[in-house]
């Protein structure tokens, strides 16, 4: 029994890594007041870029960096349309998801089914891996998983313990106040959206370079949407996003585990999606859950207009 729990926990971190990266990015973009429903598209473009670059250069690190750039580039389209042109953020993000899915299957066709000889290898952290209980999190995991964990803590510190964090949060709560105090609403929003896109791109690259080194059309399979939901019921808190991602990581790993012998795999596959609906509902039923929503979320900022 102990073994099942430990192995589930260990794999929860692996399954949870793309969710962590994605939802941390969503937390920052939405804290600054911009919803980006293009997560699925940015992730899959990142996955393709990561795979293609790693395949060509043999360096997974380069692949992941380029994937981040591609994710950021994709996000900048959304930033331009929703921040500069002040168009509807929800539709723009959705369009980005469609565009990303389409473009990745077009450009990815030559890579379909190719093996990757230089994947990102898992590592163990000496010392930490021998802690009883928690050790599984530091044994034979992807470097990106460690990166995501550390990043989550750093992003929490920045958001809630630094001056920059105050500016970011105020931009999402009350952009006209930021503007009046001499802050640059547009700059902050652009930066946060593009940063979110870079993390989404890395999340995609994790899938195609580290987790299961291969490229297939539509390989993200809805992970982007789950990452977006995690940001919501984590109440836009980076630490909550880590917790939520690990929870959904555990769900995913359960659905690929021994349970498959007794329950149909297609029914297990829908478990995470049902849990998203349940988690969102429970979160909404909690008292004062609305108080955390960034006040200006989803609204374009126009100077002189409230």
């Amino acid at each position: 029994m102990d073994n099942i729990i430990l192995s589930t926990a260990a794999r929860a971190l692996a399954f949870g890594t793309p969710l962590m990266l994605g939802s941390l990015g969503a937390v920052y973009a939405e804290r600054a007041g911009v919803v980006n429903l293009g997560m699925e598209g940015m992730m899959i473009l990142g996955a393709l870029a990561g795979f293609a670059i790693t395949k060509n250069t043999g360096s997974p690190l380069e692949g992941i960096l380029i994937a981040a750039l591609v994710g950021g580039l994709a996000a900048s389209i959304h930033a331009f349309i929703s921040i500069t042109l002040k168009a509807n953020q929800y539709v723009s993000g959705l369009a980005l998801s469609m565009f990303g899915l389409g473009l990745s299957s077009l450009l990815g066709k030559p890579f379909e089914g190719l093996p990757l000889f230089t994947q990102l290898e898992n590592v163990s952290i000496p010392g930490l891996s021998s802690i009883p209980g928690l050790g599984v999190f530091f044994t034979d995991q992807s470097p990106l998983s460690y990166f995501a964990l550390v990043l989550g803590v750093v992003l929490w510190l920045v958001l809630f313990r630094s001056k920059l964090g105050v500016v970011i949060r105020s931009t999402g709560e009350n952009p006209s106040a930021v503007d009046a105090l001499g802050g640059n609403v547009t700059l902050v929003r652009y930066a946060c959206v593009i940063f979110g896109g870079m993390l989404a791109g890395m999340a995609g690259a994790f899938l195609s370079v580290a987790y299961r080194p291969a490229w297939t059309e539509g390989l993200t399979g809805g992970i982007g949407w789950i990452a977006l939901s995690i940001a919501i019921f984590a109440a836009w808190n980076p630490l909550g996003a880590i917790g939520g991602s690990l929870f959904f990581g555990a769900l995913y790993s359960l659905s690929f585990s021994k349970l498959q012998e007794s329950i149909s795999p297609s029914l297990l596959k829908m478990m995470p999606f049902i849990c998203v609906l349940l988690a969102l509902s429970l979160n909404a039923l909690r008292k004062n859950s609305r108080s955390n929503v960034p006040e200006a979320l989803g609204l374009p900022y126009q100077r002189g207009q409230r």
Binding site: N88, Y90, L101, G102, L106, L107, W225, S264, L277
Partner: protein, 373 residues
Amino acid sequence: MSLDTATAPIKRSNARQWGPFNIETRETPPQSWLFTLSMLSVLATLILTGVIFALYGQNPITAYVTLAQGTLGDLSSLGVVLQRAIPLMLIGVGLVVAFRAQFFNIGAEGQLLAGAVGASAVALFFPNFGFLEIPVMFIVAFICGAVWGFIPAILKLKLEINEVISTLMMNYIAISIVEWLVNGPWKGKNQVGYSYTDTFPDAAWIPKISSSTVHYPTLIVALALVALVAFVIARTRLGFRMRILGENPVAAKYVGINTLSTTLAVVMLSAGAAGIAGAGEVGAIHHKLLDPAQISLGYGYTAIIVAWLARGNPISVIFTAIFLGVVFAAGDVMKVSLQMPAQTTNVINGLLLFFLISTEPLVKLKISLARGT
């Protein structure tokens, strides 16, 4: 049509000059201007897609000629276009209504599958309704789709859960359920090795115009729905409530409009229409329930563009559905003649949607040549 409730119209002093042009703002843009903007969006999309074709190593001109010939060149390919347009029309007109009432339904994909499951259940387990078989399939499909839409609607109205996320989750859940059905309890006894149900009995085959794939009963239902929606929006109390709700939800509450029941009615109409589209796909094209990716092909997402391109006008949906039917059919041609994945149409869809919303700020502008300068 604008989903921004936050940017309520602000009266501004009019008429600015910009180069040789006079720019004014106005509240009710004429249809011709909306049409021009939509056409510009389509044109820009085609140009950018051409660039992508070129980067992919295809000559964009020959690619477009191949696509045009393959989709509009002869009667049978026109039939395919119309076949693709049927579900798009049904879902699109439903989405026009939903978007007008500020419910951003991204779940038509799942609602279509729910309808397909309902219609299949009738065809497989209750095949004895005689000439009523197909009408019963349509009705059950409508109800199943509507139920699938009811869940996210009630989650939004009671718990303020964002409908974009919840309807998407419902899509993935529907996909899993259909996969489970065709691999498990409903797997056909005569379908060894395939994930299909048994083939529907003859009574449940929706008829088609001779030797084409155009299933006219579904098309008639779609056109009737367009007419009904146009009438409801223009002439009835429900339509009036929907308009107010869409344009100013706060005012809607003050004048005593029941936001809850109006939104529920609208969403269930939209979701039910998607359900009927599902009945059409399994009843006329496949004659069985099968892999969800083969049933739907992304009609639910593409219909969002059908509705957006129609800019809130139900009658326009007939034409925008046919236009996106061409794009859909082009996907098949790409696969066969250009060796590009059919998913490439999503590039066109995404770009078109980008351009449509980017031109949104221009909708209320009136641009004319300045006189006397």
